[in-house]
């Protein structure tokens, strides 16, 4: 297996969505190819770091305000529907 083929399968390998045969080939490749091993490890860390450090949390005060606006508008749209029928 060549590095390009390894890369093509990388996402399925990380998601464990790969057949046992291909998985074996990838793991054989990893045994001698240090570069692909690093790419695999650092890609895995990339995913983990974004998953563990959720960016853009909605602040609670803002959340309460947005919720109240949404519900007021929903109420309004329901009432306008009622009056139009």
């Amino acid at each position: 297996m060549k590095c390009a083929e390894f890369l093509k399968e990388l996402t399925d390998y990380l998601d464990d969505a790969i057949s046992p045969g291909v998985k074996r080939e990838l793991e054989e490749h990893l045994q001698w190819c240090h570069d692909c091993e690093v790419v695999l490890n650092t890609t895995q860390k990339t995913i983990e770091i974004y998953r563990n450090n959720k960016l853009y949390e909605l602040p609670e005060t803002l959340r309460v305000r947005i919720h109240s606006i949404i519900m007021t508008k929903c109420k309004g749209s329901r009432q306008s529907k009622k009056t139009s029928t």
């Binding site: 399925d12 650092t42 770091i49 959720k54």
Partner: protein
Amino acid sequence: MEAIQHKDEDIFDELTLVQAAKKGDLEAFSQLVKRYDRNIFRIAQHITHNEEDAQDVVQEAFLKAYRNLQQFQGNSKFYTWLVRIAVNEALMKLRRRRADKTVSIDEDVETEDGSMPREVADWSPNPEQLYGQSELGDILKKTIQGLPPGFRTVFVLRDVEGMSTEETAEMLGLSVPAVKSRLLRARLQLRERLSKYFKSKRGGDKQP
């Protein structure tokens, strides 16, 4: 003002809430908003890069969902349907702010190719030990903002929000192979860009 309670969130399953909301139960719809507003905000902010736009997207997506609730057939999950609405709203906001107005989920897919790994130094120590929380947050934001919208949206849904490949495809109106190809390139490009900050410096980096 009504306090938002978290503990009640899981009592009702999604479908029960949707059916009640369809019959006009506003409280049921309010529960759905509370269940998903943070996710929608996060997804919208990742696409638009603008807090004001992301807040608007949250409002507009829920309002649109409410107004079209009768058309929701229940063939997919409500959340999948909601995210699809929100992604479209967010892309529209992004388009409005851009001069070229051509933002789409397909953008740069054919031409962009920064995916071949050039940086092959390992990361150690752990990046979380190298940077403080806020500095790390800035690096992660700056890095993901550099990806084309189609790539970062797939990455956020799949890897940050934890959706399956199939769900992500449904949310974005893409085929499963298209999601996989974008995801691979998004992951590799993020990895490449983060390596600049996180790669281990072998030798010569010892503090005097």
